[in-house]
């Protein structure tokens, strides 16, 4: 075991740092939260600069235009970009981290050619259409229907929690192609151009007062069958292949950010019992950072530990406790949100234990897959 990075890794860090210093010097100010057209431009401009410098698609294979970086280099990249306060992935999130890797694994040559270069250059923004009002934790029960009509599917249904739906050119959508099959076996994965007739996007207002989420309503939307990724009714498996791209580095930026917020909160005067709780938060974030490194070490060695499954649950709960601590420390100074990052933190962290697998679902998964406990007695259906 050692904490020191190799000389090669440190060289990568130094080169990246030099580039970041120069790139951030003339970065335009971040647009307001709800100015979606400006936000899209700001995020995709940054993506283009990453592309030009050779940092786009860091974890994508080289043959698809990525950098093919090692897990340790990815760790360093997220660490340095977060420390330098470089723009976060923003509207490029779904394309670079989810849809792109899915196309690399499962797409046809034509699908790859049509989309991968555009995603890397920031020319194409993706959104996600997975969840539905009736399909949250039980995602596989989704009901948006895709009926075959010649060489098209006709889509009808409703999606919710579509990240960046307001500004997306394309969406990755899960639809039901066989309503009679068992729920996991009748789903297909589609590339949905968001300008097709019959698609209505409505921004979703969250507890923050705004958000990157949207609801998407689909009424007789005709999508070419050629837009299907993977085999018909094999969409559930297709959605899961991207998981292998996530080598436990998913929360690196967030952890660096959490540590920065701890330092911000530490500057506010507080009673000693609250200070001790802050100390506790520091211990947890430091440990999760070490756990991330442990995941990366294990990935580099080709082994997998419990870390990747543990980190989502532990991180979201720890960060939520930190958010609550922020409000307790601020007292009545915490009653206004405007430019008060620590208050916004409390609101935003409410979502962490719900999004991308609620904590209760994560505990089921850990209990059953890692600890080998028996499954819950089968529910109806």
């Amino acid at each position: 075991m050692e904490l020191r990075y190799s000389d090669d890794d440190e060289a990568f860090r130094a080169e990246l740092r030099t580039w970041l210093d120069a790139a951030l010097a003339d970065l335009a100010p971040q647009p307001p939260r709800d100015a979606w057209d400006e936000r899209r431009k700001w995020d995709t401009d940054w993506q283009r600069r990453l592309f030009d410098a050779g940092y786009a698609g860091l974890h994508w294979p080289k043959e698809y235009g990525g950098r093919g970086a090692s897990p340790t280099e990815q760790l360093i990249f997220y660490e340095e970009t977060a420390r330098a306060r470089a723009p976060y992935v923003g509207v490029n999130f779904v394309g670079t981290l989810h849809a792109g890797p899915t196309l690399i694994e499962e797409g046809t040559d034509e699908q790859k050619r049509d989309h991968l270069p555009k995603i890397l250059r920031g020319d194409e923004v993706w959104c996600q259409g997975f969840s539905e009002p009736g399909a949250g934790s039980d995602l596989a029960s989704l009901r948006t229907r895709a009926e075959r009509d010649g060489d098209h599917y006709v889509l009808n249904g409703q999606k919710i929690w579509c990240s960046f739906g307001q500004v997306a050119d394309v969406g990755e959508f899960l639809v039901r192609t066989d309503p009679d099959a068992p729920k996991h076996k009748g789903i297909s994965w589609l590339i949905l151009p968001m300008d097709l007739p019959g698609i209505e996007v409505r921004p979703l207002r969250t507890v923050l007062g705004s958000s990157e989420f949207a609801e998407v309503f689909l009424t007789d939307v005709r999508v070419p069958v050629a837009n299907r990724v993977g085999a018909e009714n094999d969409g559930w498996r297709v959605t899961n292949v991207t998981l292998k791209y996530e080598r436990g580095t998913a929360f690196v930026s967030e952890l660096v950010d959490a540590m920065r917020l701890c330092e911000d909160l530490a500057r506010v005067s507080m009673e000693e019992p609250l200070a001790a709780e802050l100390g506790h938060c520091v211990a947890e974030f430091d440990a999760l950072w070490s756990l991330t490194k442990r995941n990366v070490s294990q990935a580099a060695r080709g082994t997998t530990g419990a870390g990747a499954m543990v980190i989502k649950l532990a991180y979201s709960e720890a960060r939520q406790r930190f958010g609550e601590l922020c409000l307790r420390v601020l007292g009545r100074d915490g009653l206004h949100i405007d430019d008060n990052e620590l208050v916004e933190e409390r609101l935003r962290t409410l979502s962490l234990t719900i999004a991308a697998g609620a904590s209760q679902i994560q505990r089921n998964i850990i209990g059953e897959r890692l600890l080998g406990l028996p499954r819950e007695p089968r529910t109806l259906n």
């Binding site: 050692e2 001790a276 802050l278 100390g279």
Partner: protein
């Protein structure tokens, strides 16, 4: 950068685990620390890890296994002394409670002026008839006789930081093993015609035990590696604060959670869970408690340390 065990560390871990499985089964744990056990541990090299060339990161791996086996005795103190003798490290500040006074070779007394070696037989102390941890006899002294100055060639604070890291590793082992016991029980115990581990109420308790253990393990391994690299990497105290805090908390929380999973059986003397929980409580009083380390970390992040 590598926070996974090396091949050598895996061999070390497995070697110590099989030695402990053979020589220190739970009935021996229950009978407590004695000179025979001390001699066997010394013979296995536990007390001379550093002298024998092992890194702190290796020592951490060994202490995790000692914790898993719930091996009784002042093992961390003996390893810090590092010359093969069994030792109990005790401060001269009231209240003076000494662990395993009748079984250790030497008492290392920490005074404001420095460390001293005291012959255990020279200490007047009242032995508790009923210690919290039944495997760890506790004796209370009102004062400690003068001893011979001890120079370990290191600053005492440095010694305490290392002691906290090794204790954290032991607590990690406690947390890990007691979680494993609870999960095994949840798989086999049947109520309402089903294994209780199939119910989410129990499953989620078990999942939380695993999460606490894995987070603590990352902190403990990082602290061990940091001790080895302290000359080039600042902030070892912060690493150790976090490790002792999280491992201490994991050992106590998992002990309590396991008691709950075992139900009535968890409240019996017969089931081993209480031995793990009591050891966890005992060790939280050594080298800084959860609360002490949280306060220290608060000072670190506020720039006061």
């Amino acid at each position: 950068m590598d926070l996974d065990l090396s091949d050598d560390q895996v061999a070390l871990r497995d070697g110590i685990a099989s030695m402990l499985a053979a020589r220190v089964p739970m009935d021996r744990v229950r009978s407590g620390f004695d000179r025979a056990l001390a001699a066997e541990l010394a013979d296995a090299g536990v007390f001379t890890l550093r002298r024998d060339g092992f890194a702190w990161a290796d020592a951490v791996v060994v202490f995790e296994q000692l914790g898993r086996a719930c091996v009784p005795g002042p093992l961390v103190d003996s390893t810090l002394l590092g010359d093969g003798r069994s030792a109990c490290l005790v401060s001269d500040q009231e209240p003076i409670w000494i662990e395993c006074l009748d079984a250790v070779d030497v008492l290392v007394v920490w005074r404001a002026a420095g460390l001293e070696c005291v012959v255990p037989g020279a200490v007047t102390a009242d032995t508790s008839p009923w210690p919290l941890d039944p495997a760890t006899p506790m004796a209370r002294a009102r004062s400690l006789p003068a001893g011979v100055p001890l120079d370990l060639g290191r600053d005492i604070r440095e010694l305490v930081v290392a002691g906290a890291a090794l204790t954290a590793a032991y607590q990690l082992g406690l947390a890990d093993r007691v979680a494993e016991m609870a999960v095994a029980y949840a798989r086999e115990r049947v109520q309402f015609d089903r294994p209780i581990g199939s119910f989410q109420a129990i499953k989620h308790i078990c999942a939380d035990m695993l999460v606490r253990t894995e987070v603590a393990r990352a902190a403990v391994y990082a602290a061990g590696a940091h001790l080895d690299e302290r000359a080039t990497l600042p902030g070892v105290e912060r690493s150790v604060n976090g490790a002792k805090l999280l491992a201490g908390e994991a050992a106590i929380a998992n002990g309590k959670a396991a008691t709950q999973v075992y139900g009535g059986m968890g409240y019996t003397w017969e089931v081993d869970v209480h031995l793990y929980l009591k050891r966890a409580w005992l060790l939280d009083t050594r080298f800084g408690s959860v609360d002490r380390h949280a306060a220290d970390l608060a000072d670190v992040v506020r720039g006061r340390r």
